[in-house]
Every structure is written in C-alpha cells, then in structure tokens.
C-alpha cells in the first residue's frame, strides 16, 4: 500500500506543481503590471469564465468547434490509417511520398487563407485542420505499420490467415499503442488549428470568432476565459483518447 502510494504520488504532485507554478506566475505578472486590459487577474478571468458558462452562446460555440475538431480529426485519422496501410506497398509509398511532403510543408497560414477563399467559413476550419493533422498521423501510423513484427506476418502467411483477420488481429493491434500516442498528440493541435482557422474565416458561432470578438472589444479577461475553455477541451479530448487506448490495448 505504502509502495503503491509512493509510486502514485509523483504522478499527482508533479502535474499539480507545474500548474501551480503557471498560476503563480500569472498572478505575479497580473499584480506587477496591474492593468486588467494587458494581463487580467485570475479572479476576473474566472469571473468571465463563470459568466460564459451560464450562457447558451458558450455551449453553442463550444459544440460547433468540438464538432469541427471531431470531423477534422476523424477524417484525418481514417485517411492516415488507410493510406499508411496501402503505403506498405513500396510503389504506393513512393507515389504518395511527394504528396505528403508537399501537404506537410505548405505554411499553415497559406492553407487557411486559401481555404477561406475556396470554402464556406463553417467548413474551411475542418479542411485546414485536416491538412495539418493528416500528414502527422500518416507518418506516425506508417512508421508503426513498418514496425510490425515481420516474423508474425510470416507466421500468419504460412498458416494461410486471411488478410481481414491479419488486419484486425495482427496489424491494427500491433500499431495501436503508437497510433493512439500519435492521435493523443494530434488532437490538441487539431483544436488549436480549428480555432485559428475559425478566427480567420470568421466562422459564426464558434470559439474562434468568440475570441476574435473578445479581442475586438478589448475584453482580455474574456479572451483568456475562452483560452482556458480551449485548453480544457483539448485536455478532455486527450484524456478520451487515452481512455480508449487503455480499453483497447489490454495486453500491455
């Protein structure tokens, strides 16, 4: 029991210490600058957050941004999974390689500005975030697929195991730990990109436009409150992926 507690305590103490330091620095800066417009106090920020939480507009914006994040993330993950799987074929991989490199190296802002011209404000953030998260997940999934134990693949071929069974019982479980880790780090990025694109695309009823309006009205505390909401949203989504990983990867 004592040993277990000793093992668990650092997992609780260190993250709390890190958050505590950030909050303390925030409080020190706010007190030193003493201008709500530049650095709002913790109290006023949480007051604003409290106000936001009681209004329907907050949930509408949160819901819309969450839906865009989910749509972009899931299409990105699915496309990355399928294309990384077919990339096990060397010819396909060589064909896709320049496309992935181009998608990866195009500046985020160019993509956002171009899609704002081409697409509706409600859909462009989904596409922009897809273009950013897809190559990251593709690379992660592909390296996981390439790392699948060749001996097990050979064994399954000798025993004449069908591709469908190999896919679901050998390949996917083998890549699952690395793939979930990759998805966990991509989801936070997707939230960030969706919000950034919402700001530029002026997407109505979104967290991005709410932040933009708060900035326009010099409501710095409200802007920070929305930022806190975005951080919590990212954290919850990361936790959700971690929980799915735990449920799926039971053998480790």
């Amino acid at each position: 029991m004592k040993l277990k507690l000793k093992k668990i305590l650092p997992d609780i103490i260190y993250p709390f210490a890190a958050v505590g330091i950030i909050v303390a620095l925030w409080a020190i800066f706010a007190a030193a600058i003493d201008m709500e417009l530049i650095v709002p106090s913790i109290g006023s920020t949480f007051d604003k957050l409290g106000n936001l939480l009681t209004g329907a507009d907050f949930y509408r914006a949160l819901g819309n941004t969450l839906l865009r994040t989910a749509a972009s993330f899931l299409t990105g993950a699915l496309a990355a999974l399928l294309l990384s799987l077919v990339s096990l074929n060397d010819s396909v991989r060589k064909f896709l390689s320049p496309v992935i490199k181009i998608v990866r190296s195009v500046p985020t802002m160019s993509v956002i500005l171009l899609t704002v011209i081409w697409m509706k404000p409600a859909t462009s953030p989904i596409f922009v975030a897809f273009l950013i998260n897809f190559p990251i997940m593709y690379s992660g999934f592909y390296s996981a697929f390439s790392g699948v134990d060749k001996d097990l693949v050979a064994m399954s071929k000798v025993y004449g195991v069908k591709f469908k069974n190999r896919l679901f019982e050998l390949y996917l479980p083998a890549i699952a730990p690395a793939a979930f880790d990759c998805m966990q780090s991509s989801i936070g990025l997707t939230v960030k990109i969706v919000i950034s694109a919402e700001v530029i695309a002026q997407t109505r009823y979104s967290m991005g436009i709410a932040m933009q309006m708060a900035r326009g009205y010099l409501e710095t505390a409200e802007l920070l409150a929305w930022t806190l909401a975005a951080v919590v949203l990212s954290y919850i989504l990361e936790l959700l992926i971690f929980a799915i990983k735990k449920a799926f990867v039971r053998w480790k």
Binding site: L152, A154, K157, N165, E169, V249, W251
Partner: protein, 227 residues
Amino acid sequence: MKLISVSKSYGDNVVFDKFCLEAEEKKILAVLGSSGCGKTTLLNIISGLTDFQGAVEKSGNKISYIFQNKRLLPNLTVYKNIEFVLKNVYSKEKIPCIINEILRKVELYDSRNLYPSELSGGMGQRVSLARAFAYPSDILLMDEPFKALDISLKKRIIETFNSLYRTDRRTTVFVTHDIEEAFAVADRIIVLQKGGNILADETLSVPAEERGYADFSETKKRIYDVL
C-alpha cells in the same frame, strides 16, 4: 514431398545448387548441419516464405510451422492465438472443441486465457506446438523449436511433441543442430552441407515413441564423423 533441383542464393552466397531431397509421407526427417548451411532457408523454401529456382512437390498445401521463437501474437490470449490460424479452415462451431482438446493435450487448458507475456518459455513453446497440431496441415516444419530450452524442459517438450505426433502423423521436416534432439524424434536424419550436399543419410529403424534408450551409437558415430 520432393524438392526438385532447387537453387537458392543470397547475392554471391550460394545456399542450394540444384538440390534434390525427398521426405517420406508421415515421417519425420531431421536435417542436421552447421550454422549457415541453409537449414532455415530449406524450411522457408518449402513454406513459400522465400523465392527460389526449381520445384517443390507437395501432397497438400497446408503447412504448420513451429518456429525457433514462439511467434505468438502478444495481443491475443493462448486460446485466441490458436484460433487465429484456424478461422480460415474450420467452422466457428468446430473451433472451440479443437482448441480445447489440443490445449488439454499440451496441459495448457487452464492457461488458455493468459497472454503470451504471462507465459514461461516452455509454456510459450507448447502453445506453438498446440497451434501447429491444431492446424490441419499436410506438412509440419520445425525450425530448432527446442533450442532455447533448458535440458529438463527440453525433455518434457519433446515428450509432448512425441505424444502429439503419435496420434497425428504428418510429413515433417525438423531442422536442428543438436544430434540428440534429432535422435529423440526423427525417423530419418540427414546431414546437410552448404550448397546442398548431403553428407550423411541415416534411417532409424525403431519409431521414436518406441525408442526409449535404444542405442544408436553406430549411427551416431557415422553422423559425428561427417559433422
């Protein structure tokens, strides 16, 4: 099963040059030889895991393979590992009976829900044996399956193998570098040299299960002489 004029090279390294071999139906052929003489390549040729020139004539296409390392899927339990190779050959209703029966034979029925990481080396190798015998193969290939085991465990696993084989005979090619292992299970022993030369070819008159402590000192001497 016949290997007809089989040639295989890795770059300049010629492993087999127009190699011919015949393995008797439902008998165990042990292939002895030093490291690098092409023992594993021979099994990979028979199983189709490597390309080659020449031909392999088989009485059937289904092959079981007991590898040196267990090659169990880490995400599947003992039961599911065996089921993995049977889904394509048996109906859903039949599979549980076959798996449970073989697991009882290898004394792993109580461990059927364990994952490979929870098994000892000997248990893992018994799962590998069970998988090979549960699969309805025409040919059984064995690549030094007893190599990584300590002496007492090796003895027990060989006993398990012999008891499974006694009731379910298959055309078997057993590759090893250990002459005692070969004498413990084989009906015929050949000594292979790199390039595909057969240095010795001995048929053992007493079946493995009746062999006990039979003295094959003369045969052993002939094999040791060419090794």
